[in-house]
Symmetry: C2
Subunit: 365 residues, 2 copies
């Protein structure tokens, strides 16, 4: 069995511990007790995940003297909304969840974002622990402290920066994922390498088959490095005023696709994969990236069986997304470009520069 | 004209500037521009306040090159809820409010709490300025960074700690208040003195008539001292884990009254006044306060024409309030008691200790 790995996100006055291991869910209870001193835990999860892992988690919490309460939310990003937030507030109240309680998010990014936002705002904030169960949420959503929900107008338009007391990564939880979901998570791993670490990118090129097969010896160091890259960026810029924006590589137009599809049929990682390939190509076209960069990125994404082309939606869909994107500052859009593999930058571009006039379907169809 | 007064709430890595003056609304625009660099301002206000002061504020913002957008919310604490929060999010989006914008709360505590919570969570947080227009919000709500909204189950059960970039107190805005509203605000001034500063309490006893008449020379130093007391407590305990709880003096049962009245007919300051007198008497009865403390407090509250008796509601109303109170920790309630004038403490008491069995109407009526 591979050794356990520890990582700390250093945020000045605070530090967020990340624990990475294999088949470690049974050990999380005592660690939560030690970190939060909670008497009660409000476990937020979706039905399928709760069925699979809920009993182990409850047992582990009880072994540490924590009373556990389970709260189910409907699956799917479409229900990451204010209605669910309010329902959880009121369910928490009715079960006596108070400031001595901890909110435990057991699930994918949607559960972490939603439960995290509730934790950040219920009684003006209660402690919060992330137990991500998808690759995407392990390497991305559970690191960085971004929590929030969607509005009909767009993704994550409401939220907060709220750091968990503990992030618990048990790689074995990924065994129940479909290959498609593993691949979608790999998109954010590839992103982390592409924007920040050429050597790590080369490692992914080498180990991809073993990673997609979830071999622990290959997987755990990759989980660690992905989290470390994100943690490093976040710790330098917790509030997303500068550097952190590079983490949005591929996301601006990816969001447009997710929104046009109403968050159905396309996974976040898939949308990001398309957005990254587009952004890399556009970076080259604008003379911002070195030649060959986009092809190399595209090849790895393709090998991971991720889509590489943005769908031919109407031009307006993409333009509208730029307009309500929360990264918008004034007229120009802070768009993340790739300079080369392992190096990225935020460049202020006009919508027309991001989307050349040939891009997207015209109204007449 | 009295001199302008400056105060800083020191929170370690951040500092919240409070500016106190008389007829200074016309000067706020350039200060907001300097503090936030905002291109746009989302002014959140209620109709009556917007009519009276909106034009002056807009002019001042425009003089500083800031585009101003006005958003009206319905008056009254009953509409400080999640529905209004969502309405504001979506109205902000439709008017293009982004991260380069500042949210300006122009109004009483309800407007500040609501607009502040929206500012804290819209796009994961945008800058926020408080321009309180009631005495209550000048000395209490706008200092300390607590923002939030009510749930049907109780007051302020949802919220965040979010510090404004600027708090602007223009004492002349109080001239349009009814005597009843001035008195209600005075309740929190008296609270600040009672829990923390015996000398200040004596000053209030001396100056009360001039304060109720809003004489600037008497009023401005009292605004400053009230804010300073709260700022001092908050800066020692921003997250309300210890000392800060003394600011809840009179609030626990006050909330019960507000809730039973559905936030209508009784002003927050009035409810707090009743709660303070009750808490002071109970402190003496429990042997926690020196003799005479409650009478002296009651006299000042009475002279301010504030109510001194909790209404004879059913016992269950008061007990229920203790149960969902967000200050609840486990079985006991952290209840703020007065030791003497100028000195308070949080004591863990059972509901039965806070409410002796003789208190409140029985079911049979």
């Amino acid at each position: 069995m591979p050794r356990k790995r520890k990582l700390e996100i250093d945020l000045g006055d605070r530090s967020v511990p990340i624990r990475i291991g294999w088949r470690t869910l049974g050990e999380v209870g005592p660690e939560i007790a030690r970190r939060t001193g909670a008497s009660d835990a409000a476990i937020v999860t979706v039905r399928s995940v709760g069925r699979r892992y809920g009993a182990d988690l409850l047992r582990s919490l009880r072994s540490a003297g924590i009373r556990a309460h389970r709260f189910e939310v409907p699956d799917g990003d479409a229900t990451k909304n204010l209605r669910e937030v309010e329902r959880l507030y009121r369910a928490f109240l009715s079960r006596g969840i108070d400031r001595k309680s901890v909110v435990v998010a057991l699930g994918g990014g949607m559960v972490g974002d939603l439960a995290g936002f509730v934790a950040a705002t219920y009684l003006r904030g209660v402690p919060f622990v992330q137990i991500p169960t998808t690759l995407l949420s392990m390497v991305d959503a559970s690191v960085g402290g971004k929590v929030g929900v969607n509005l009909p107008e767009g993704k994550n338009l409401v939220g907060a920066f709220y750091q968990p007391s503990l992030v618990w990564l048990d790689g074995a939880l990924l065994e129940s994922l479909s290959p498609r979901l593993v691949a979608a998570g790999m998109a954010e791993v590839i992103k982390a390498a592409a924007i920040r670490d050429a050597k790590f990118f080369a490692r992914l090129e080498r180990d991809l088959p073993r990673l997609l097969a979830l071999e622990p010896a290959a997987l755990l160091p990759v989980l660690e490095r992905s989290c470390a890259i994100k943690a490093d960026v976040v710790s330098r810029d917790e509030r997303e005023s500068g550097l952190r924006r590079i983490l949005n590589f591929g996301h601006t137009l990816g969001h447009a696709v997710e929104k046009a599809r109403r968050y159905r049929g396309v996974l976040h990682g898939e949308a990001v994969a398309m957005g990254m390939v587009y952004a890399a190509r556009r970076s080259e076209e604008l003379g911002l990236a070195s030649a060959g960069t986009s092809c190399r990125l595209e090849e790895l994404i393709c090998r991971a069986e991720l889509p590489t082309e943005l769908p031919n939606l109407s031009r307006k869909v993409y333009l509208d997304a730029l307009r309500v994107d929360k990264k918008r500052v004034g007229q120009k859009i802070g768009y993340v470009v790739l300079r080369e593999i392992g190096k990225s930058d935020v460049v202020e571009l006009t919508p027309a520069e991001i989307l050349p006039s040939s891009f997207g379907r015209r109204k007449g169809r």
